[in-house]
């Protein structure tokens, strides 16, 4: 089924008009900001700017008054999963923090370090009150009196959106919590949960090695709940339409609606769309002007997984289905590689970027990632020798699981799926045949790699 925004609008309803119909699996709606059929993104359209508190309350009504136990029950029965990439159930995070000793710390992670993803930035810039509503609910569940919303320094629109929304709420004493807006370094690993928690504790935004989960003990010694901005925005919806109504916005195995970001060979790279219902990857790409299976799709983020275009096209965008192909929904990034472009060249660009974004703390990352990047670059440029391939694979195996955070693992995952999905190109490149995408312009919009000439990055980069 090909779906374009506006064509199907089974969920177009004025919010507050009662619970959503159940049993909606099988109907798909994909839309952008303000399009009919959307839930999180419903409301003012693209040119409408930030939704004010008045507009937000007018559409959604005020936040229902719930006590901590009721919020936890909503989290449990909705099955709300983390949307930052890990997919960890928020109910379990909150319950863990409550079971631990000490006053918990609550941080909304809106830094969205994934440069190609735009969902959290969009929510903070355009629908900040959904994020703050949800954060206030989690604060209630945890019994904390202050909430920190953490963003990247360079994200002007989102920072302004959240700051002004906080000012609006303060002026009418809307919440029983004290809001803090924090701005951290614009580096890739600085958005990792332990790096965010660490930055708020001592100003060092590098991932931490910890033997216990953050929700048990964070860098401050207190249980620390770091929750993604999209996740809490969904909670604001759950509180209004009920856990069952919200869960039925997605397939049974993947409850709720979700945000995805298109990049690569699509009509509007960087566009954020919301999917309601059980959609295949193909149905998610169709609104971006992709009419048939592309050469390949990068799923889940830069440190994600390539899927062969035809496989991806008919695969449900669903955790279970993607895991079966070795992928994960991650942060919802969908990167389209068109026919005629070379996946090895694109992947080499990404790995170079990611290698430069290491915090330079763990030996395997410092020593391993540049070699992985160099190997893949050599393969992409056709200067690689055949036996190097086995070495590249062995290097990947060695790096897996060796760092304090998941950064090296993500890069290895990307390299593995690159060698698998683009096996034909690997053979061509090894044989010295000209690259299929030699003259193709860059597709995925990878930022320039951080200069890595001076060894490990300095601490100032992460403060």
């Amino acid at each position: 089924m090909i779906v374009s925004p506006g064509l199907l609008a089974p969920f177009h309803r004025p919010p507050g008009s009662g619970p959503l119909p159940g049993g909606t699996v099988g109907t798909v709606s994909v839309g952008g900001l303000g399009d009919p059929g959307t839930v999180l993104l419903s409301g003012p359209r693209r040119d409408g700017g930030r939704e004010t508190l008045a507009g937000h309350v007018g559409r959604w009504g005020t936040l229902p008054e719930l006590d901590g136990g009721q919020v936890l029950a909503l989290l449990r029965s909705s099955g709300l999963d983390g949307r930052g990439g890990g997919g960890f159930p928020l109910a379990r995070k909150v319950a863990t923090a409550l079971a631990g000793g000490g006053r918990p710390v609550l941080v909304v992670n809106a830094s969205e370090s994934e440069p190609a993803s735009g969902k959290d930035r969009l929510l903070c810039a355009r629908r900040p009150h959904l994020v703050l509503d949800g954060a206030a609910l989690v604060a209630t569940a945890l019994g904390v009196s202050s909430v920190t919303v953490h963003l990247h320094r360079g994200a002007d629109g989102p920072v302004e959106g959240v700051t002004r929304a906080v000012a609006e709420r303060r002026s009418c004493r809307l919440d029983g919590v004290e809001w803090r807006v924090s701005r951290g370094p614009d580096r890739y690993v600085s958005g990792e949960a332990s790096a965010v928690a660490g930055f708020l504790h001592d100003g060092d935004a590098r991932p931490r090695f910890a033997v216990t989960p953050l929700a048990v003990t964070g860098p401050s010694g207190r249980p620390t709940v770091v929750v993604n901005a999209e996740t809490v925005a969904h909670l604001a919806v759950v509180a209004r339409i009920g856990a069952g109504g919200w869960a039925s916005l997605g397939p049974p195995s993947f409850p709720g609606s979700r945000l995805v970001t298109h990049v690569g060979a699509v009509d509007h790279p960087g566009r954020v769309l919301e999917v309601v219902g059980a959609a295949t990857v193909g149905e998610l790409l169709a609104p971006g002007g992709v009419t048939g299976p592309p050469a390949a799709v990068l799923v889940g983020g830069f440190a994600g997984t390539w899927l062969e275009g035809r496989d991806a096209w008919s695969t449900p965008f669903d955790r279970t289905a993607l895991v079966c192909l070795g992928a994960s929904p991650g942060c919802g990034l969908l990167g389209v590689l068109p026919h005629g472009a070379c996946g090895l060249v694109e992947a080499a660009r990404i790995v170079r970027y990611l290698a430069g974004e290491s915090a330079g703390q763990c030996g395997t990352c410092v020593a391993g990632l540049p070699r992985l990047a160099a190997g893949l670059s050599a393969l992409a440029q056709g200067t690689f020798r055949r036996r190097g391939l086995a070495r590249l694979a062995a290097l990947g195996d060695e790096l897996l699981g060796s760092g304090a955070c998941g950064h090296p693992d993500g890069v290895v995952r990307l390299v593995r799926s690159t060698l698998e999905v683009f096996a034909d190109d690997v053979v061509r490149h090894l044989a010295g045949a000209p690259c299929r995408g030699a003259d193709h312009p860059a597709v995925l919009g990878v930022p320039d790699p951080y200069p890595t000439d001076g060894g490990p990055r300095s601490e100032e980069d992460f403060a």
Partner: protein, 99 residues
């Protein structure tokens, strides 16, 4: 009581001295960085070796804790946290960091 041994990868600088002590529990990669493949030390002998490795590591990267959790959670140890091992083998006398 079970003791858990870990190597903090952010502190490890690849001296590989821990490999002298944690013979079967540690894997050293091609650059000398250690990784614990068998984190629980049950026998007194294994615990003793882990303590020596922790004392010998010049960067304090070998972290030792009881199975119930670290004594000072979330704090990056300046020195190995051998003090958390109450009730297990005492630190061998005369151990000056080089075994």
């Amino acid at each position: 009581m079970t003791t858990v041994v870990r190597i903090d990868p952010t502190l490890c600088r690849g001296h590989a001295i821990c490999a002298l002590y944690l013979l079967e529990g540690v894997e050293i990669d091609r650059w000398g960085f250690g990784r614990v493949v068998q984190p629980t030390a049950v026998s007194r002998r294994a615990v003793r070796r882990a303590l020596r490795a922790a004392a010998a590591c010049p960067n304090g990267a070998v972290v030792i804790e009881d199975a119930e959790g670290p004594a000072a959670p979330g704090v990056r140890p300046e020195r190995p946290t051998v003090g958390t091992l109450e009730g297990t083998a005492p630190m061998p006398a005369g151990l000056d960091g080089l075994g």
